[in-house]
Subunit: 331 residues, 2 copies
DNA sequence: TTGTAAGCGTTATCAA
DNA sequence: TTGATAACGCTTACAA
């Protein structure tokens, strides 16, 4: 910057203004400086800028897994908003471990980000403290929480589970099975499952513990879940496969076995992805507004940031973006 | 840090050492300082650290689209390696636009990252200059390039296309169709398509331009592609659907139409994802080592970084990680 | 093993 | 509209 200033015959401060507040610079000076900047291909150093201004352009995102296509929509929503505001996204995965999440939060806070987004609402004690003390705007997402650390943008997994129970009951099914990814350490799935059980119980139906399964990720494990649940109870009428693409895997397995869906067995999924619409038959599912969640999360952080520049009266927020049962051919 | 130093009765420099070179500190002092750090919940400021050391812990990644599940594997590979080395990943999507890529490169360079990974081998003139002048280690990936800006880790899309042609020819097919996402601005797909045509041509077969289609993303568009190509030539024998999940969409459409695969029509895909293995029949495809590519890309940047600390004799590298034709039921 | 001094490359602040 | 000056919170280099 000094070099640019020297060549343009102005002070470094003027160069700085050309870059970050061009409207404060006389048009001729502006153009003069800009031409030098282009000529020497000057690339400003934001590290220095951030230190001086005590403000970075980094937003941190921690998700349970990068591989899981679920998060892609949310990430795109976040990214779209941040990019419009000149902010940058750091992403890491916690591998579903709260300890790793804590370590990541700590590492991210060292970077003095202008915001943090967590796809998670349960954290270690230490992690909560870190976040609270830091004063960094923080959005929790992935599940509705009554006690957000700062802000939350989500939907109720419990209500979604209950709504799916109501849907299946309304179709006349009475014997159920349930499968999901491992519940431990995943409050989103736990809530969805418990909501489902609540809904059945309200209709006087108790699900057999043997008909509740945890399986690994992937289509293949959806197939396994179907096979195993049918083996355990050949008269089961409806399955709720909560999580990722398990339901699609089950449908594909039905195709392979020549089972009619929903004639022989009804199958419902969650997390509407395009696969759900394209199977034969298309799968009844519960859809969460993932892109919108990314967008709102990012917007909250951006607005927090802009607030800070004017009036620093921080306000917490919890937004419930809802969900939607999408009835299709499989139930 | 000053505050911690004061409370611990040492100089700030000792606190700094406790954090970044603990082996240089006397054990008692170390413990003493660490206990103060915990007590006051001191979170070091890496922005300041980076400015002083002229070294950040940020690696930038630019991919064409965040939504595309293709990149998830590569990202996970990168992330796994970086996390082990205490580095952080910034991710943005260029939306398949070279101009946006250039803008992102420029923005990333301002952050003085310790490396950049581009899922792309064609760039604007300005972008190449920026990268070359910056001296920031840069890995290009996604396609084999003869002229890497710095380093490259990839596979040959052209060879992959040719290999798929050979595979289909060896199965006895002679009338072909091809569909992919839009080719323009996507050198990876162009190469794959051209390689496919090369392979056919070598066997004396020229593909009818009417049987070459570009469609949008998603399963649904795979279905459309199948419908359209069969409409244009009812006697077509084999389709190569290159890109994303188009082939799976086509297979699902065949299921809906009651077409036998490969009896009525053979279908081959690319980018082996789990969907390809689970359809009925499973889809013949070409598999790229996406996770490995992420791993190697990150490793090259890490090793460059460590080199720099010792001997600064930078060396360029192009690594070809190959691909694999996976013959399955659909051809 | 620890400390001192001098930056790192910007921006905030105030004065001109 | 522009400039001088003093930070920002660390690390490097060297000295003790």
């Amino acid at each position: 910057m000094k070099e640019v200033a020297r060549l343009a015959g102005v002070s470094p401060m003027t160069v700085s203004r050309v870059l970050s507040a061009p409207h404060l610079v006389k048009p001729e000076t502006l153009e003069q400086v800009q031409s030098i900047i282009r000529a020497v291909r000057y690339v400003p150093n934001r590290v220095a800028g951030s230190l001086a201004s005590r403000r970075t352009s980094l937003v941190g995102l921690i998700i349970p897994s990068l591989r899981n296509a679920l998060y892609a929509e949310t990430i795109q929503g976040i990214s779209d908003v941040l990019q419009r505001h000149g902010l940058h996204l750091m992403i890491s995965d916690s591998g579903y471990s709260l300890e790793r999440e804590e370590a990541l939060i700590s590492a991210y806070l060292s970077q003095r980000p202008c915001g943090l987004i967590l796809h998670n609402t349960t954290h270690t004690e230490a992690a909560r403290h870190l976040l609270q003390d830091s004063g960094v705007p923080c959005v929790e997402t992935g599940n509705l929480t009554t006690q957000p650390i700062d802000m939350a943008v989500s939907y109720s997994n419990r209500e979604a589970g209950r709504a799916m129970a109501d849907h299946l009951l309304s179709r006349g099914y009475r014997r159920f099975g349930f499968a999901s990814l491992p519940i431990s350490g995943n409050e989103r799935l736990r809530e969805r499952r418990d909501g489902f059980f609540d809904g059945l119980r309200a209709a006087g139906i108790e699900i057999d513990p043997a008909m509740v399964l945890e399986v690994g990720e992937g289509l293949e494990n959806g197939s396994h879940a179907l096979a195993e649940l049918m083996r355990r109870d050949a008269s089961v009428q409806a399955l709720f496969l909560a999580g990722d693409v398990l339901a699609a895997g089950a449908i594909l397995e039905c195709t392979r076995r020549g089972l009619r869906v929903p004639g022989d067995i009804a199958i419902a999924g969650s997390d509407d992805n395009e696969l759900m619409q394209q199977t034969v038959p298309p799968i009844t599912t519960v859809r969460f507004p993932r892109y919108r969640i990314g967008v709102r999360s990012a917007e909250l952080i951006v607005s927090r940031q802009e607030e800070e520049r004017s009036q620093p009266d921080t306000q917490s927020a919890t937004e419930d973006l809802g969900f939607e049962i999408v009835p299709r051919g499989s139930t």
